[in-house]
Symmetry: C2
Subunit: 300 residues, 2 copies
């Protein structure tokens, strides 16, 4: 009998879609992937049932990794995620382990992204590195000595809520001046629309493009936000002295040009002993695969 290929199932749960894929344990390649609309899974066990049917018979499933908003590694549960159809505490690890009979690891999306970067991406030889995701919110995942930092309660890595401007812009968390209120995609758009008094639909990448073509409001917004991002990253370095910082997410991945700008603000704000020692890069994982790869990496 031929030996079946061992695979990990990576699942990325989002507000609208759930993406999933089977990653070969040996080659680390994505064998097969797909996504489903979240709306059809009013209960978490329905998702487990559906995905169970999807396991191709030629594969031997050996592990599952799930990245989800408010996913807690220690408890294996999703806890009070505001943007999911599932309310309260959802014991995802238990549900999936009962259904599939293989070890399942649950964590939040930013931690999953950090694991993905460590297993498959730029950070492979960097046991001390920071992953920062700049999307609707700002998330972060941190590796110290080759291990993901989870903190005393699994809630470590909320760098988006670093308060960087005393009495600054209001943040969704109820406080003021958080990094997320300046450097998330949402914050870039919001600041641009406020200052331009325009009423249109634009993306964070549009704001970057307008900056490139000399739009003064876009320039002001981007320069200010990048200054604050650079200072926050420089502050972060004084704690851990990582050898690399990886940025992930729409606007930060719009080319080398933007990384150079962020790097300039970063280096300028670094304490001298760290200058020139920390590589600042954008993620090179293919956008379409990265979430699924990250989720699976939790299980690697």
């Amino acid at each position: 009998m031929e030996k079946r290929k061992q695979v990990i199932l990576g699942i990325d749960i989002g507000g609208t879609n759930v993406a999933f894929g089977f990653i070969c344990k040996e080659s680390r390649a994505v064998e097969w992937k797909d996504s489903e609309a979240m709306i059809q899974f009013s209960e978490a066990w329905m998702l487990a049932d559906r995905l169970f049917q999807k396991v191709p018979p030629q594969f031997e499933l050996v592990g599952i990794g799930i990245g989800a908003p408010n996913g807690n590694y220690y408890t294996g549960s999703i806890e009070f995620a505001p943007n999911l159809p599932w309310k309260g505490v959802v014991p995802l690890k238990r549900i999936f382990e009962e259904k599939f009979g293989v070890p399942t690891v649950v964590s939040n999306d930013a931690n999953a992204a950090a694991c993905g970067e460590y297993v498959f991406g730029n950070a492979r030889n960097h046991p001390n590195f920071l992953m920062m995701t700049l999307g609707t919110g700002v998330g972060s995942g941190l590796f110290v000595d080759g291990k993901l930092v989870l903190g005393s309660d699994g809630m470590a890595g909320e760098l988006g809520h670093f308060m960087v401007v005393p009495n600054g812009r209001p943040c969704g968390c109820g406080r003021n001046g958080c990094l997320e209120a300046y450097a998330s995609s949402t914050a870039l758009i919001k600041q641009y629309l406020e200052k331009s008094k325009m009423q249109e639909t634009i993306s964070a990448r549009d704001v970057v493009e307008r900056w490139k073509s000399g739009d003064p409001i876009a320039t002001e917004v981007m320069q200010h936000s990048i200054e604050i991002l650079g200072m926050s990253l420089a502050n972060f370095v004084t704690i851990h002295s990582p050898s690399m910082i990886v940025l992930f997410g729409g606007w930060a991945q719009s080319g080398e040009w933007i990384i150079e700008k962020i790097n300039h603000a970063f280096e300028k704000n670094l304490l001298e002993i760290y200058r020139g020692k920390v590589m600042l890069v954008s993620s090179r994982l293919p956008g379409s695969d990265s979430a699924v790869l990250g989720a699976s990496a939790l299980s690697f």
Copy 2:
């Protein structure tokens, strides 16, 4: 033949004095301690020679821990410490291991203090905790999962150089707005003298005492500095989610009253998910023993 007591030699190297003590490995008690003026040791090997003569014959020395400004755990050297008579890179670990023939660990003072707190102090059951020393400067040492965080180059834990006030007070590091420029003993004194236009010699504890007795300038300085300290500690928590923060150093150890004030500023600035979860305490190690205990703890 009677078995000799196994001891660790803890050495705390400072600008003016070197304190040292022999700590029993079994009972963890300080068996004997002393100090010497640094001025007589123009070379590091002279210190090793002197301390070698001091090992009581009834003890079996099994390890040495050295806390020193700019001490690097990875290299075992002191690197360019501005306030020591020894210039450049001093290979302390090699010098002591050659002289004594026992394993020697070198780290900076704040890391030594953190180890002391983890081995002997309040943080004994807190594998995820932060130690902050508020003295001439502000130093920090960090434990994640029961291990001291050293970073990619041994330089982690410079939380004193968190930039907390954009374009704020000048700091000794050449930048502006660092925590150290607000919360070190030196900074409290400096701010008080600037605002009061007085020319006298006072200590940080004096500023605290004046605050207690209603002095308006002391009140302003202390409230502002404590607000900034509280915000910095709250920012720090968003990264690691520690279960405890231990404060060490003159003014922060002037009683429960001051800890309550700092705790108030800290809790107020915390992200909601962390509120009420992090114990903020002052070190309870006896001031006279703490440096030597901390240094020895590096070797435990």
